[in-house]
């Protein structure tokens, strides 16, 4: 074991965590924003938008990866536009890791945010308005605190999913050690090369990380539930 650890290149751990954090931040704000947007649209458009935003969750990640590859390939309009005008390359780069992880994990944030918002009693918002509060204050002081447990657990789930993303990442970002090789990608390629020791090491790392995540969800939601009476047992 010691020999394995000594020979380990730690870069996949940092790439994974960095990717997870950036993808989660993107998904957190966009998820909240789009959840509100979908809630405010009319029924037919609502189901269409909801379908689009949830699709990455149900699609096989390789399919999502393939679609992203089509979108960002430098031989395609968007990819070419980004590369020529801004010198941004998504395919086979770390940015690709982030986009792949974001695309796959975003629906978790979006759905959790929507669920959390839709549980809020609309009378609370009306009460805020009749009491003379601004919409800004209502959002920050009433809506966000009430939705906090749901938003936080959505955020943690998003981070977990982004951290473990494999299918779309290999399609879009590839498997370049020190650049785009995340833990999940490492496990697959080490196992394929017969290096079960290294693969096993990364498996242990992922199991520990995942366990910490589950415990923190329980902690966050449990804490948020303290102020209301809910079904417990």
């Amino acid at each position: 074991m010691e020999q394995i650890i000594n020979k380990i290149d730690w870069s996949p751990l940092f790439i994974s965590i960095k990717t997870g954090i950036v993808a989660t931040i993107l998904a957190f704000f966009l998820g909240i924003y789009l959840a509100r947007l979908v809630m405010m649209t009319k029924d037919k458009v609502k189901w269409l938008l909801d379908g689009i935003f949830t699709l990455p969750l149900v699609l096989p990640p390789t399919v999502a990866g393939f679609l992203l590859l089509l979108l960002f390939s430098v031989r395609r309009p968007l990819g070419a536009y980004l590369y020529i005008n801004f010198n941004i390359k998504i395919v086979q780069t770390w940015a690709g890791c982030v986009i792949a992880a974001f695309a796959i994990a975003f629906p978790l944030m979006y759905r959790n945010a929507r669920g959390a918002f839709e549980q809020i009693d609309v009378n609370l918002i009306y009460a805020g308005r009749t009491l003379g509060l601004s919409e800004f204050k209502i959002f920050w002081k009433i809506i966000l605190p009430s939705a906090k447990p749901g938003l936080l657990s959505g955020m943690v789930l998003t981070f977990a999913r982004a951290l473990g993303e494999y299918g779309a990442t290999t399609m879009l970002a590839g498997n370049i050690l020190g650049k785009t090789r995340t833990i999940s990608v490492s496990i697959a390629s080490e196992a394929a090369a017969g290096n079960y020791g290294k693969a096993g090491f990364w498996v242990i790392v992922i199991v520990i990380l995942s366990f910490i995540i589950v415990v923190s969800i329980n902690f966050l939601t449990g804490k948020g539930m303290k102020n209301s009476r809910r079904w417990s047992g």
């Binding site: 009693d121 609370l124 009306y126 009460a127 009491l131 003379g132 209301s228 009476r229």
Partner: protein, 352 residues
């Protein structure tokens, strides 16, 4: 202090149309569920937008469809007591009150302390809404509204979620609390008892249409219209045929009745409250006296309700007679029921 409301709103299945004025007195809106009474309050508060009409509060136009005025709820100075109180669940009692205090009010702590004392919330300042009883929640909701110093307070079925004992205690409390409040109070309810106790003036809504507006006591005494009579809780109403200026035939009951008031051409029904029927032991050939057959009886804690029909008229409609147990058992028993009943002239309500 005046509130003028004259609005129309299209709703599912019917259209709400209401017009009334309140001038500093407690005003009530009576109506069955789904009659549009809560919607009226929501329009005044600005939570819903009327299809057309006008709402003016103390000379300030809150809504005017012609002038295209529609003031945002937060600038209306309208306090709304929600049926479920809508306290902010993540805030402590004191913060629920604090957030409602206007910006101009410098000494927020003093306002909070005053309200806590006035509404008997001492010791509950640090609690969360879910740690309070229903009555306490209602008081916090009222404190929060008073902290905002609105020009009018709207009470939306304030007591309907409470059990009957608590209801009476709270009605008294709320009246006590609002005694020092000098704005308008408008209350909506389906309970005639609540409104009778609370409001000097009443508007009656039936399926979106405004049926009657006036002094509460007057409306209960003379409901004028069939629907109003039913909504004020009268169980006995019969269709009539006019015989002469002061005589009518109650078709549903099969009884000829003399009236005190002249029967105009518009009168189509006659009504009498169940407790206004009088058992009759005197001379039988008197006006408005008729023999009865008994069908069933219902006991409430202090009263008895009998369902009777005119004897020999089995096709006739049921007539309800209500009497306190005390007076009933002084004279009668279940074996010796009065054989004749009278509908005294002065209690007959002539209805359109």
């Amino acid at each position: 202090m005046t509130l003028e409301v004259s609005i129309k709103k299209r709703l599912k299945g019917f259209s709400l149309e209401t017009e009334f004025q309140a001038n500093g007195e407690y005003m009530g809106i009576l109506g069955a569920s789904g009659s549009g009474k809560s919607m009226t309050l929501r329009c005044i508060a600005g939570i819903e937008k009327p299809s057309s009409g006008k709402i003016v509060l103390n000379g300030r136009t809150l809504f005017d469809s012609e002038e295209k005025i529609n003031i945002a709820p937060r600038n209306r100075k309208v306090g709304y007591l929600f049926q479920n109180y809508a306290l902010f669940p993540t805030m402590r009692v004191k913060d629920n009150i604090k957030i409602a205090i206007g910006k101009k009010n410098a000494d927020k702590q003093k306002v909070i302390r005053n309200l806590i004392e006035r509404l008997q919330l001492d010791g509950l300042e640090e609690r969360y809404p879910c740690e309070l009883s229903g009555g306490q929640q209602q008081r916090v909701a009222l404190a929060r509204i008073l902290a905002n110093e609105p020009d009018v307070i709207l009470l939306d079925e304030p007591f309907s979620a409470l059990d009957s004992y608590l209801k009476e205690v709270l009605q008294k409390e709320v009246l006590e609390i609002l005694k020092d409040y000098h704005g308008e109070v408008l209350m909506v309810s389906h309970s005639r008892d609540e409104l009778y106790r609370f409001c000097e003036k009443l508007t009656v809504l039936g399926h979106g249409q405004q049926l009657l507006t006036g002094a509460t006591k007057q409306i209960f005494k003379n409901p004028v219209k069939y629907q109003v009579c039913k909504l004020t809780g009268c169980k006995n109403v019969s269709k009539i045929k006019k015989i002469s200026s002061h005589t009518l035939y109650a078709e549903d009951w099969k009884i000829v009745l003399k009236t005190e008031l002249e029967i105009s051409e518009r009168i189509q029904y006659v009504g009498i409250r169940a407790h206004d029927l009088v058992p009759w032991n005197g001379e039988r050939e008197r006006e408005n006296v008729f023999p009865v057959n008994y069908f069933s009886s219902v006991y409430t804690p202090f009263e008895i309700e009998f369902i009777v029909k005119k004897a020999g008229e089995e096709q006739g409609e049921e007539i309800w007679w209500k009497i306190s147990q005390q007076s009933f058992f002084q004279i009668y028993s279940e074996e010796t029921l009065p054989e004749y009943m009278s509908m005294p002239k002065q209690f007959l309500m002539l209805l359109e």
